[in-house]
């Protein structure tokens, strides 16, 4: 195996994790990663070396992940039961007031300079329910436009909006509990 092939293979577990976190399906993730690795190994000359190998591979993987989403769009949009919990009901009383007022998180700079924060954020993203996780990742990781996401998944913009809204509130809740709670903020 060439050095190049070995380096590519070394990154496979990480690519698989990324594909899984977007697709929420092991078989589709395996396919996306295999297709990405094949594309990379078939055209090593397209890796010009000016970017990191990982950056280049992740770029290819994103295209293959979108292909998988397209291929399985019907199955991908089944909203599982755990998506039905209305987080708004948990956060707000009937009169629309916060049940528990949000806490100050301090300055973004202080938080965003810590590598562990991003590890915590990663965990929170992985924990999102499947449908919410998929649309959130399509928006934030694949950076697809809202119209494109609706088209790929065959959902209305209202569906998409509700899923993104719930995903962001859940993420906020997870960060509050998993990172900010008990951490003194300046």
């Amino acid at each position: 195996m060439s050095d190049f092939a070995r380096q590519v293979e070394t990154l496979r577990p990480q690519l698989l994790r990324y594909a899984r976190s977007q697709l929420r399906n092991d078989a589709w993730a395996e396919d996306a990663v295999s297709e990405a690795l094949l594309a990379a190994l078939e055209k090593p000359q397209s890796f010009a070396g000016q970017s990191q190998l990982k950056t280049w591979l992740v770029g290819i993987l994103k295209h293959k992940v979108v292909d998988q989403l397209r291929r399985h769009s019907r199955e991908a949009t089944i909203l599982s039961d755990d998506d039905d919990t209305d987080i708004d009901e948990l956060l707000f009383a009937a009169d629309g007031h916060w049940r528990e007022a949000p806490q100050a998180w301090g300055s973004p700079e202080q938080t965003l300079n810590q590598r562990q924060f991003f590890e915590a954020l990663d965990v929170c993203v992985e924990r999102l329910p499947p449908a919410q996780g998929r649309v959130f990742m399509m928006r934030e990781w694949l950076e697809l436009g809202t119209e494109e996401i609706c088209k790929e998944l065959g959902i209305t913009s209202t569906n998409l909006w509700v899923l993104l809204h719930r995903a962001r509130l859940r993420l906020r809740d997870c960060l509050q509990q998993g990172w900010f709670a008990g951490r003194p903020v300046s």
């Binding site: 992740v58 629309g96 916060w98 100050a104 954020l121 934030e140 993104l164 509050q176």
Partner: protein
């Protein structure tokens, strides 16, 4: 025009503003609400932090660069 919004509605608008520009009346209602509501003002700060975090999170995932670079 009625500029009264509940905290629940304000939260929805703050998150919606990440996807599209809000109508003038909603933007005004948010400004008025933030002046009188500490909880929603803090939520606004949380949403801002999360927005910045997601941009850096992509860099953290997609390369081996440390998040601050």
């Amino acid at each position: 025009m009625n500029f009264n919004r509940s905290c629940r509605e304000v939260t929805r608008l703050v998150l919606e503003s990440e996807e599209r520009e809000l109508p003038l009346a909603d933007r005004l209602a948010l400004q008025i609400h933030w002046r009188i509501c500490e909880g929603c003002t803090k939520f606004r700060g949380q949403a801002k932090l999360m927005r910045e975090a997601m941009a850096r999170w992509r860099g953290y995932r997609d390369s081996d660069e440390p998040p601050q670079s």
